[in-house]
Amino acid sequence: MPFACIFVPDFPVEALLRAEPELRTQPLAVLEGKAPLQKVLAVNENARRAGIDPGMTKLQIEACTGLVLRARSLPQEAAAHAALLDCAQSFSPRVEDAACDTIVLDLAGLQPLFGPLPKIARALARRASDLGLKASVAVAGNPDTAALAARGFSGVTVILEGTEAEQLGSLPVEVLFENSTQKSSQLLETFSRWGIRKLRDLAALPDVALSERLGQDGVYLQKLARGITSRTLVPVEPLLVFEEVIELEYPLVLLEPLAFLLGRLLEQLCARLESRALATQELRLCLELDNGGTGVLARPSGAQARQSFQRTLRLPVPLLDSRTFLKLLQLDLKAHPPGAPIVEIHLAAEPVRPRAAQHGLFLPPEPEPEKLELTLARIAGIVGEDKVGSLALLDTHRHEGFRMQRFVFTTETQRH
């Protein structure tokens, strides 16, 4: 039974690069902690080549020229993790959320659908790349071997059954410990004293002697190194929350750069919805505004209270066109500008089933819902929102016995 593992190395960095892909070619370091004790949490490959390692202080790395520094963004990491889950669930219904940067999925029964295992692995990597994440994908006969291979080898790796020990042998023992705890540090120190550097060295140790010295933990680690562990996946059923967040380094004042960022967020949202075969009928935009420090009470944590500007876009039919969404948001923001610089953008989509429209030969002409929605938004910008729409008569004898309401067009196919 084959399993696949998707691992995103330097996950905090990749989460930030989803919103700023132009930084991928530059050395980038993600900082964590409060000033002035900030330390490097993660770096990308370019920064690593420049000599920047996780754990260094900000003072130590400031001397490096061309290095881009960013603060850690938990909302963006959550959005990246959700995107990773969407990517995995677009292939298999049985997905285990092993860690924020590691997803394991069961590939049983998928070969007739998606092709041979190497093709599935490449498709997984490509889908993750489409969602803005550079991931390593590994396929193996058990989940733990797949996870080790994904963490140890970059790119796409396929481990055939029976060759786990041989292929994992070249990996360093550090790959067995995904979280640095006191116990793992002690075990690593022990392995270092014994001269155990690679997994093949650990796999070659005698079982009894290892269990006498390190107990069941050591035996388990040896089984991992040999690739002979067997366990069942713990599938996850995540909530269908489609939300993208971006924290800005400096406040945005103009609507044009805001539209550029919104376009990027909408593309990612639509890609995630499409991977789940869903569409959306409601978009919620929340902009955190910069108050500029005037008349704002400071919170005990030191962060200034921010105003939020919210707009909700309700569509008459489920849609999945990022360009249409962007145009509608632009028209809406033009008619209702935020009024203050923007420091954070939250964009959420309410998932619904996509509409299934079957057109008939003899039906009367109908406008396309996407075009009609854009047209109505543009007309509202010309004459005003209350001057365009459909009528509803009121039960009154007053002269103005009617009210304008939103023009909602239902196709003939939706009626039947």
Partner: protein, 284 residues
């Protein structure tokens, strides 16, 4: 051309009377023999535009007079106030919504009466109403001239809005009927709409299933209108004593309004249409 004798290629210099179809063939042969005219397509082979599909206007007499309103063409109805043009507008809307088509009304003067439309059977779920300007204020003050200028200033902007809105609606497509109501717009303002705009609107609906319908006091679209109908109210008959008790009091005065429609132009037939009139009567 019909008077020129044709010479058979078999016997040059001799006049041989031949049948019409064979005559056409001879012409084609002579034309194709001329090198300079080798690429010229004869008129007989030119593309003949099919006649547009006609839809009911909602008024039986107008359908009998014109055949209905053509799809993909601009139809214009002009007439002074109380000539029945709004009745025709409401009838057309009612007929289109009964056909389950989506309609759009660009109301430049904001003069549309929803209650009259409901009485005419218009389905509001299928009608998009765009209100471009405020209602004209009828003033009897001594400063009439200044008020007229102010009125013109008030609705000048709505006309510009209307042109942009019409462009958007026609580009969006999918509407069965798009109505431009210039009925209460002063003639001076309505005539300021450039001919290029009308031409653009006419080209936008060409080859589509949309009926573009213009209501005005005087003809505005000029040559862009494929169908031009002039309406005028003839007379009001006396209040009939046979009206039912349910009839609202204000409606009784308009019972028996006779409307005369005159077809001024129709490009839908090969031969130019003469001035044909038809009369119909409104009823409560």
């Amino acid at each position: 051309m019909s008077s020129l004798p044709l010479v058979s290629s078999a016997a040059p210099g001799r006049f041989i009377p031949v049948a019409a179809s064979a005559r056409s063939m001879l012409v084609l042969e002579r034309l194709s023999a001329i090198p300079k005219l080798a690429g010229v397509a004869p008129a007989a082979r030119l593309y003949v535009r099919p006649a547009p599909q006609m839809v009911s206007s909602g008024v039986r007499e107008i359908d009998a007079l014109t055949g209905g309103f053509p799809r993909g063409c601009l139809t214009e109805i002009c007439g002074p106030a109380s000539s029945g043009r709004t009745s025709v507008l409401l009838a057309a809307l009612g007929a289109a919504t009964r056909r389950r088509e989506v309609c759009a009304l660009v109301d430049i003067s904001d003069a549309f009466n929803p209650h009259s439309a409901a009485a005419a059977g218009v389905n509001f779920e299928k009608m998009l109403w765009v209100r471009c300007g405020t209602r004209l204020q009828k003033s009897g003050s001594p400063q009439r001239h200044r008020d007229t200028e102010k009125k013109n200033e008030k609705i000048e902007k709505p006309v510009e809005q209307a042109l942009r809105v019409i462009d958007l609606l026609l580009q969006s497509g999918g509407f069965g009927l798009v109505i431009i109501d210039l009925g209460d717009t002063p003639v001076k303002m309505a005539r300021r709409v450039p001919l290029a705009s009308w031409f653009r609107f006419q080209r936008a609906v060409e080859h589509t299933a949309t009926v573009l319908f213009v209501i005005s006091q005087v003809p505005c679209a000029q040559t862009c209108a494929s169908l031009l109908l002039k309406v005028s109210g003839k007379k009001l008959s006396a209040v009939s004593s046979q009206l039912s008790a349910k009839t609202p009091a204000h409606a009784q005065r308009l019972h028996g309004l006779q409307i005369q429609g005159e077809l001024l132009r129709s490009r839908l037939e090969r031969k130019p249409a003469g001035s044909v009139t038809s009369a119909f009567v409104t009823k409560v």
